[in-house]
């Protein structure tokens, strides 16, 4: 069985892992829809978006591995870390539905989460195009185009479902109530953010809050939905403190690589 690897605690590596792991884990959740989406074209759309996210994760994790300097690569970082070394925010590891047990999930929950997360990623990728790290800036140049489409796709669905039937609206309201408390974590600065700003690597988390909120408010208004009230709850994914769901995601992701180290197609 392949043992786990530990990245160094370098702040620039941690900053990149937060970005790369968000893409990686959200891709895992989206890919659970493959073959099960309500409509053929949406099945392809969700799978396309998962592939876009994996492409982004590959670029960012490769860069993180290089900066980390311990000889790891994108695959090692993607498949061989322990749970507390993944730094994605908790919101992307949540299962695709409100109660967490539906398979493949609740479509309204999926598009509401996509709208909230892709709006945040759009604000982040756009600012990363100006990163002093040339490789990250290049990845951001490509990713910014992809995330604009993800956000548009998700926003359109939120509007259709929110301003739709009573049933679709109820699911959107339930999804928003479940997801909203997990958004607070996205905008809290810490030492890793400050180091990234000082090095010109990327913006601090709080810088993304205003543009995110403006975009999300516009989507919700058109969808005739309301933003839930802020709560005191704080999730801890970006610090490596994950929910009970992360273990299941990682188990599924890692089992093959752990059982067959270095395996390739």
């Amino acid at each position: 069985m392949q043992a786990s690897i530990r990245p160094s605690g370098r702040p620039d590596v941690r900053y990149l892992l937060r970005l790369g792991d968000t893409c990686l884990i959200l891709a895992q959740r989206l890919s659970e829809w493959c073959g099960h989406a309500p409509v053929l074209e949406e099945d392809i759309a969700l799978a396309n978006m998962a592939l876009d996210l994996i492409g982004q994760a590959r670029g960012v994790l490769s860069r993180a591995a290089a900066l980390d300097g311990q000889g790891f690569d994108e695959d090692g970082l993607a498949f061989l870390r322990d749970e507390h070394d993944y730094l994605n925010p908790t919101i992307v590891e949540l299962p695709n539905g409100v109660d967490g047990r539906e398979r493949p999930g609740d479509f309204a929950f999926t598009v509401v989460r996509n709208a909230l997360v892709s709006t945040w990623m759009k604000a982040w990728w756009e600012r990363l195009r100006a990163s002093r790290d040339a490789e990250l800036a290049a990845i951001a140049g490509k990713a910014a185009k992809e995330v604009r489409y993800h956000q548009q796709h998700a926003a359109d669905w939120v509007v259709r479902l929110g301003d739709g039937t009573t049933g679709s609206r109820d699911r959107c309201v339930a999804a928003l109530r479940r997801l909203w408390p997990y958004t607070a974590e996205l905008f809290e600065d810490d030492a890793v953010d400050e180091a990234a700003r000082a090095a010109g690597l990327g913006p601090v988390a709080s810088e993304l809050q205003a543009p995110w909120r403006a975009d999300v408010d516009a989507i919700l208004r058109e969808a005739t939905l309301e933003a839930p009230a802020p709560s005191a709850f704080r999730s801890g994914g970006r610090a490596g403190r994950h929910s009970e769901h992360m273990g299941y995601v990682l188990a599924e992701m890692q089992v093959l690589q752990r059982a067959y180290p270095g395996g390739a197609w």
Partner: protein, 105 residues
């Protein structure tokens, strides 16, 4: 796609309308028909066409048209409509030489 030119097919109750998709390749000049899809509205149809019909870099521009908006010739009229062209070679522009200055058509 061939329809009776006088009646349009109605979508089944509860089913999204059918749209025909046309894609122009990156190097091409005209949109070519490449397939169809079901979508609830025009905006969704464009996005779905992008997701389904351009994911292998097939194109740079997409048109979608509701299938019931397309009027097609009746296959029963094929003989009357198209056979007469067979022996009218004088309609083809092959009997004069273009001056070099404009010979790029």
């Amino acid at each position: 796609m061939t329809n009776d030119a006088t009646t349009a097919p109605q979508p089944a109750a509860g089913e999204w309308p059918l749209w025909e998709v046309f894609v122009r390749s990156r190097a091409g000049l005209d949109h070519k028909h490449c397939g169809s899809l079901h979508a609830a509205d025009a905006r969704m149809a464009i996005q779905m066409a992008r997701d389904v019909y351009t994911r292998r870099q097939e194109g740079s521009s997409v048109w979608v048209v509701r299938s019931d908006q397309i009027v097609a010739s009746d296959p029963g009229d094929k003989e009357a409509y198209f056979d007469p062209m067979e022996d009218k070679v004088y309609r083809h522009p092959t009997f004069y030489r273009l001056p070099d200055a404009v010979d790029h058509m």
